[in-house]
């Protein structure tokens, strides 16, 4: 008897351990008291102490260097100085070396990270410039060199269109990957590059962008990789084979200096919030911390609203991103930017695209940043505005500062107030 009762109790207890109480609400009669409400609010008085600073990324520090031509407005040209050739190279597998006595040719690899695909017949124009090119060199300094005949004009679109994407006459070839990055392999002979022993083989090169004037205005734009994705070259040199003869040797190298020059003066900072340009400008925005909002709500969306005071500078094809990034600590112009706290962390920046020539209001989603401010009450409530790619172009936007009452930066916040638990 007791065993049967035990079995019955077990079965009933197991059957009892279930629950499903979910029903859709028929409101208001059969809904709980209190509703989740979403509130939209534009905070216009929360930004203060905003300032702009310039000089963060110089053209020679940029990861991309722009070749841009806008007739009558802008001519931006990448400038390069190649590494030196060694004076002697090994002849074979042993340690015997021979002196470099001349070069046959030079092979250059350039990477076009982006280009204006609306342009017909994009041309890259190579000029020799003095090997003394450095960070102090200006467009005006090189103007005579640009006026001289180019050593090579590469018709990029024509090259891409060739069978095998290779020009059998010049030896140039091209490869385009799935992301649209164009890798150019250019062959220059000794007459083009003019090796001189006194210069240790260093040469200066400038690259201009042009397009077919018959089909358009001649405007053109391309961004060339610099630094890690910069110039790669191979000298094909003649080496003295211990007096017996000369032999050919390939010698690798790259750019020991890459930068760009342009024919537009760097605009001076004023009271506006400048972002971008070269050298790059950043703007620091400081936010008040409205405790009623930050301490007792759940923010579902936050947007930084920035109104340009003037149309963004730059070429129409060279749109760039404005990034609002957290700072580790507020040290004014020298505030270090915060990075991801863990893999996949997106709560340190928000971004939006700016199109040069446009006066559109820029809205940057900063939801994750503001929610982080809610969670970390010690975090500085400041954002640094910067451009991306930073220093990689002359594009610049100037937003109205907080002192311009009508156009000042604002924070558009959508939030859920605290739920009225327990209230009738």
């Amino acid at each position: 008897m007791s065993h049967r009762l035990l079995s019955l109790g077990l079965a009933l207890a197991c059957a009892a351990c279930v629950e499903d109480l979910t029903t859709p609400g028929v409101c208001p009669e059969y809904c709980p008291p209190g509703q989740i409400s979403a509130v939209d609010s534009v905070l216009r008085d929360e930004v203060s102490g905003d300032s702009a600073f310039r000089g963060y990324v110089q053209p020679y520090d940029a990861t991309v260097i722009p070749a841009t031509f806008l007739p009558g407005e802008l001519d931006s040209r990448p400038v390069l100085r190649t590494t030196a050739l060694p004076s002697r190279v090994r002849l074979g597998v042993d340690t015997a070396t021979g002196a470099v006595v001349g070069v046959d040719s030079l092979r250059l690899q350039l990477v076009l990270l982006t280009r204006d695909t609306s342009v017909r017949d994009l041309m890259l124009v190579l000029h020799r410039i003095p090997r003394t090119v450095d960070s102090a060199t200006t467009y005006a300094d090189l103007a005579p060199d640009f006026a001289a005949p180019a050593i090579r004009v590469i018709h990029v679109d024509s090259l891409i269109a060739l069978a095998g994407q290779r020009d059998t006459i010049t030896g140039d070839s091209v490869a385009v990957d799935t992301s649209g990055v164009v890798t150019l392999l250019l062959s220059l002979d000794s007459a083009d590059v003019g090796w001189t022993e006194a210069d240790s083989g260093r040469i200066g090169l400038a690259i201009g962008a042009r397009s077919d004037t018959l089909a358009g205005s001649g405007a053109a734009s391309a961004r060339i990789g610099a630094g890690d994705r910069g110039l790669v070259m191979t000298w094909f040199a003649r080496v003295d084979s211990l007096g017996a003869d000369t032999v050919a040797r390939g010698i690798g190298g790259g750019a020991e200096f890459d930068s760009y020059v342009f024919d537009r003066p760097v605009p001076a900072l004023d009271s506006t919030l400048a972002v971008g340009g070269a050298p790059s400008a950043r703007s620091l925005l400081r936010f008040a911390r409205p405790s009623a909002l930050f301490d007792s709500t759940q923010i579902v969306r936050a947007t930084l609203v920035l109104v340009p005071e003037v149309a963004a500078l730059g070429t129409p094809a060279d749109s760039f991103q404005v990034i609002a990034q957290r700072v580790v600590t507020d040290l004014g112009a020298k505030s270090p930017l915060a990075g991801p706290a863990f893999i996949g962390d997106q709560s340190y920046f928000g971004a939006s695209v700016v199109h040069p020539g446009a006066l559109d209001t820029v809205r940057i989603d900063v939801t994750d940043l503001v929610r982080r401010w809610q969670n970390d009450t010690l975090a500085p409530t400041a954002l640094m505005l910067r451009a991306d790619p930073e220093g990689g172009g002359v594009g610049e936007v100037r937003f109205a500062p907080s002192r311009t009452a009508a156009l000042r930066p604002a924070l558009h916040v959508t939030y859920i107030p605290r739920f009225p638990f327990g209230e009738p």
Partner: protein, 363 residues
């Protein structure tokens, strides 16, 4: 050993709670009946005569020895809205636990807990909100899990041979864990939200009851209860104070034969003092037949419910049946009751099957 295991399983099978209803969602909750399985099996007609029902205490005076009782209930509920939507819900609860016995003096004492207000539900809602010029679709979920419990300390005695009286102090306490969630359809743009809060309830009440033996075959009982104010606290602050009703009831029991007992009862609760509440009147008739070893019970009841939309109180009609089986040399018994309920309110009908299982141990 088997008894201990079964008892533990019954206690562990559900939470301290009572039968739920959609009618308690937009209110204080669903008031519980505070009846033992035996009383439930007779539709509630025997409640005032039953020592194991925590509603009234005078019957404790007749306890021959100590007793421990616990019960669980398994409910299947069908909710039908007038728009045609129908949902099947299920839950398991643990509505009553009681321990009572005689004292060295001339009275008996009892303690335990019973559900006073049930507040467990999950309500979802689909809607849209105009944000930044566009309508954003969302789904809300409001979940409440818990109840207000009634901790009772009761005493009862017989000042005269035919009269038993009892009284009890009631501490209303308990909490609900409440969650509200909003899931936006465009959750990449609008972040989902979640809020969790423990809501606490406290209150005090007293009750008095009496049991009078009119003749050897007829007994009558009366009961009165008054509760003060139910205080609701959330986030450490009192956010609501709700007046609780005065309740009273009466019942009569008739024993036409030795193996047959018949009873009828009436209950009234002035829930209109609470916001959205209705005064509720309940009537029950029931019978118990058979030996103490294997009794069989039947009952029928009709009640008004305390909460519901509209000017009129929702109604409930129930038919019940039950039985018990002694074991362990008569020191323990299992009680079973099966209940079929029909509830009707403005815009909603509910139909319930509820199985009550109780374990009573009298060492």
């Amino acid at each position: 050993m088997g008894l201990i295991v079964i008892g533990a399983l019954i206690i562990g099978a559900g939470r301290l709670a009572a039968q739920d209803s959609q009618l308690g969602v937009n209110s204080l909750g669903t008031p519980a009946r505070q009846e033992s399985v035996r009383a439930r099996g007779t539709g509630g007609a025997f409640t005032l005569f039953d020592a194991l029902s925590p509603l009234a205490e005078a019957a404790l005076a007749d306890l021959p020895r100590g007793v421990f009782a616990a019960q669980t209930q398994i409910t299947r509920r069908q909710v039908e809205f007038t728009d045609g939507e129908s949902y099947r819900l299920k839950d398991s609860r643990f509505p009553v636990l009681i321990a009572a016995g005689r004292t060295p003096w001339r009275f008996s004492a009892g303690t335990g807990f019973a559900t006073f207000l049930e507040r467990s539900y999950v309500v979802t809602q689909r809607d849209s909100a105009l944000l930044r010029g566009t309508y954003q679709l969302y789904s809300d979920e409001h979940k409440s899990d818990g109840n207000v419990a009634d901790l009772r300390l009761a005493v009862a005695g017989r000042p005269a041979a035919r009269v038993a009286i009892g009284g009890a102090l009631h501490l209303l306490t308990g909490s609900t864990q409440e969650e509200v969630r909003r899931h936006w359809d465009d959750s990449l743009t609008y972040r989902n939200t979640f809020e969790l809060q423990n809501v606490e309830y406290t209150g005090l009440g007293v009750s008095l009851s009496t049991l009078i033996t009119v003749t050897p075959r007829v007994r009558v009982a009366g009961w009165f209860r008054s509760d003060g104010t139910l205080h609701t606290k959330a986030r450490g602050e009192t956010v609501n104070a709700t007046p609780l009703p005065t309740q009273y009831g009466a019942a009569v029991e008739w024993r036409p034969r030795g193996i047959l007992r018949v009873a009828a009862s009436v209950r009234y609760a002035g829930w209109s003092v609470a916001p959205g509440g209705h005064d509720a009147l309940g009537l029950a008739v029931g019978a118990e037949a058979g030996s103490p070893t294997f009794p069989v019970r039947l009952g029928v009841r009709r009640d008004q419910l305390a909460f519901g939309p509209g000017p009129d109180a929702p109604t409930e009609f129930g038919v019940t049946a039950g039985l018990a089986r002694r074991f362990g040399q008569g020191r323990a018994r299992f009680e079973f009751a099966l209940e079929r309920l029909w509830r009707s309110a403005a815009g909603l009908d509910e139909r319930l099957w509820t199985l009550h299982i109780g374990l009573v141990v009298q060492p």
